[in-house]
Symmetry: D2
Subunit: 343 residues, 4 copies
């Protein structure tokens, strides 16, 4: 157990395992035997060598669940045997933002993977403050998905959705499908979800979406205005990261509406935005970054049955098939959604 492999993307399209030695557990650290670890859109950006904010080589994987098998000397809230999901941030606890409880804006924020500890590996060490206990009825595979669900929950809270609000979600990938469920859990009225891929829209339908719009076949903005008596939606979510969908997210809003931006743009310096929309229709665009006290909310929504994690898992593979997992995700014919590595 002292030496164990951990996956890195070392060059575009290239996943390699490097050996790592188990560090001693510091005061409040827990040692986790990893059970499931899923692939994020950010990992795909890295795999393609196109991550807008990070460069290669880089450890990958940050959607991690497992069983606690050892405790640091000062651990008080977690016990050996606990089934947990990991919140993979590293924050300073001392800066302006941390002291105010907004740790996702920490001036010194890091992530486990960008600090060298990826999630595709059998062991994971993290402070007890950053693990969240899973009830028995949530499997490890589902538990790994708590991280992207927390991203969606954060965006929904940022949107200040109120009961009865109409919403539109651009992008029906993993984040989009979590947004769909979180938006419905927050009491929204009609929800529109937009994508180009039919299999994603089918999953959306199975998760309760009434309006699934294929943007290859119809103009989503036109349709949204038609179905809302010419008013538009109260809230929209951009979970793609393209100029076109950003424009549509803004255009589909009701006057006074709010668009929440979650997607990162691979080519941000070329995005033209129809800027007079802001004033003419008094709309807002709000960025949503990561999560902050959102794992707790995500867990409540899963416990209540308002959010289902399992239908998003399209593939489960062993650790040695990690490269193949990326190939599956990049192959449109695979109809992949979330791909989970089991350990």
């Amino acid at each position: 157990m002292n030496e164990y492999p951990m996956a890195f993307v070392t060059a575009p399209g290239r996943v390699e395992f490097k050996n790592r030695t188990l560090p001693p557990l510091k005061d409040d650290d827990v040692l986790i035997k990893v059970k499931a670890s899923s692939i994020c859109g950010g990992d795909i950006h890295l795999y393609k060598g196109k991550h807008p904010l990070a460069s290669l080589p880089m450890a990958i994987g940050h959607e991690v669940s497992g069983e606690v098998i050892e405790l640091g000397p000062a651990v008080s809230k977690i016990a050996v045997g606990d089934r947990v999901a990991v919140e993979p941030v590293i924050v300073c606890r001392r800066c302006y933002f941390c002291l105010r409880g907004e740790y996702h804006l920490c001036q010194n924020i890091g992530y486990q993977y960008s600090s060298g500890q990826g999630g595709f590996t059998p062991y994971f060490v993290v402070s007890e403050d950053w693990v969240h206990c899973l009830p028995d009825f949530i499997s490890y595979e589902e538990g790994a998905l708590l991280e992207p669900l927390a991203v969606a929950v954060h965006a929904v809270r940022k949107a200040q959705i109120e009961p009865g609000h109409y919403a539109a979600i651009f992008g029906a990938g993993g984040i989009g499908l979590f947004l769909l469920q979180a938006v419905k859990a927050a009491g929204s009225g009609e929800v529109f979800i937009v994508d180009l891929l039919e299999h994603r829209l089918k999953t959306a339908t199975s998760l309760g979406a009434r309006f699934t719009l294929n943007a290859a076949q119809e103009d989503p903005v036109e349709r949204i205005f038609k179905e809302t008596q010419g008013l538009g939606v109260d809230r929209s979510f951009e979970a793609v990261g393209l100029e076109k969908t950003l424009q549509q997210s803004a255009q589909s809003l009701k006057k006074g509406g709010i668009c929440v931006l979650i997607g990162l743009f691979e080519d941000p310096l070329k995005v033209i935005f129809p800027v007079n929309l802001f004033v003419q229709r008094e709309i807002q665009i709000r960025g949503s970054r990561g999560y902050c006290w959102d794992f707790q909310v995500a867990l409540e929504l899963v416990k209540n049955g308002q959010v289902k994690l399992k239908p998003l898992i399209s593939h489960q593979l062993p650790l040695q098939d990690l490269s193949r997992a990326f190939e599956i995700l990049l192959d449109p014919k695979s109809q992949a959604n979330k791909v989970v590595i089991q350990l």
Copy 2:
């Protein structure tokens, strides 16, 4: 049709029908053939002669649904044959509050029943602005319940519930059971519902409540703190109107929490409140009055399946049995919940 009966409480415990002549339809009026009309807690206050704000004789009934059978000359949004629920307010449209869209605070607010038009009657006349179309899958009996649901929705919006919030509801009568559903629809985490009557708590369980607390058997505040790791709930709702439950609603709050008050107190001038709680735990109490743009939200929640109206209907009776309906409601053995008069 020109003469038709309408029910009044003329003295405590006494319901009488008086004949009324159909008024001519003004510009934007619609004439409704009433199909269902349910009894509200306010009606019971009147029947007992203990309404804190109104005196006898008084028309009763304001939870009304029916079919539109005739239109005033300027009606443009409603058609003959529409199935509708009535929002029974009368507002001036010109005062400070109306102009700002807060019509429930109208300086000249009235209600249909207090202006002489009760709801236990075969015909009802109201401006098209105050009817809400019912989809086919909502029965008239359910449609009549949109009014108390709107009361609950207004309270939930006033509470500014956020996904994951823990909530406690004091009172599992009609409003309490709608609050339960609306609070869950808004994405709350654990919900506690408190009452003295076991059959009401059973209905709450069937509507998805996990924690039903019988205050005759346990101290609800103690239990709530036990189940929330000593923190208390983020939001509480007082839907009873008694000193004891008001105190418990405040005491069960997490620091910084919000209690929404919906119940009217029959004996308001004797209510002692543990007032230092406000400062010590930085809590809030917010009154919630009626509804304002809440029928629309209520309809969305019913359409989405997040709120069920039918399980609240315990009795259905014809108009001539109206007196008996009140007796049923006052008899604890009847285990009544909402009693609907069918026409």
Copy 3:
């Protein structure tokens, strides 16, 4: 008095007076003897033939004050002799937004000037609902400026400024200088105001700005971060309408900060925005359109002495010099700020 002249821009750079006949006063109309009428940035867009939303010929002028000299038959709140400022909107009072009190988003919104009644004219007719009484200590010239002040007040309310917030204002023209005062009136901490013209920054200094930044001489974003210990400002205001200042408004924000956009862009379809800033720093951009219940607030701020109108008036001219007034405004050497036409 039955025939009187009214100014139009008939072609770029061309102001013409057309004769107009006094219409009969409808129910709640009041007839105003115009005393002062000032020139807005929108008028300059029209004069240059570059208004992004309107085409020529067009009546000009909508910042109007005067004395009420005649009343329609149903006027009840205003008396002959009242000194008033005009709120120049035309709204339907029946649409989704009007009913909710958000009349600035009215589905059928118009403005007096775009409906044919400009403000550079001796008589003005408007419903009593859209005039605001001026206390004696506010002159007519100042009263005409209530309209642009209301624009600034609306933007400040949209920004949800809290006491102690740091703010940056891009653009020290009329709106910028009103923003400066309204932001300070709302309890902000340090305020930065940015422009290219030294005389505007001098006026800003005289109005209490501590940090006046000339963007021709230093990088305002760099300076703002230097003066805020590397944090940036809580709120920024874009009151220019250029790609560069929009970018700077966003870049100067503290993480989690809010930029309010007031300026209209003459060339909106070419504006590139560094869009990953939204997610990386979790910032917001909010459009601010016109005013809605803001004249009332603007009046309170003037009555309290928190906002001064007079220092913004650089030139006062008679009606026949209207063309010259535009020339003054377009001449950088004139050091003009607000130019008021006196009648």
Copy 4:
């Protein structure tokens, strides 16, 4: 310097000095040479033996300013010679509330004085995190008043005052006069301030209050409705702690208005509240506890000149006259406001 005196109330009406030994400075502690220390209403509760939450003997004094004269080994933000005001809380930094930045709600909150370190003493030891640097133009006597100003700032933020709001303040003691200034700094419109003592109302007038109401001479609720066209105020503040003023604070509100409660009640278990007001007028009562990131805001308001500290200081006395200082405060003829002990 190793032994120094510190003041305690040992019995009602009895102030005694006990000798204390200087503790060694822990990591981030700073040693302050106290220069000024003022008396709070809470100290008076203690002196009278009627504090609702604390029992005798008890150290007194927590409004402290001074010069930093020694640093613990890990201090990094503060230097010897810094002029500072002290924020006298003790929080755990680990509980639910601390982690979220709401340290005033800390589950383990304490105060320096209740932990044995009062403020009427020549030396004070506190972590560098809880001192706030004073600019040169703020005297030490003024600096001591930053603490009660922070209480007022917290209440004003809790009230969510918006520009133009009308407000009423019940109680023109120290907190009331700071509330007056903070409410005006936040952009309020008309402000009413109510008290029984004429000299306090005079100070209020000198601080810019337009409506000073002597409740011994007129009914403040009646007057407020008369001056607000029958609407009432948007926000009220209860800074007395009596049943009567609590009732008036609620009754003077506009429908939908918010009352913020700051005063502690000496006799809380007898307070009857007209509880149907909550629902009938949809009002809110919000408790305000202490401060949380409010010293920073308070400093901004003083730096901007929006709040003046000096006019509140009615008496300055040396440490040996502390008992006499309490007598002055309890003597209505002394017309005392804030009494500052100078060292």
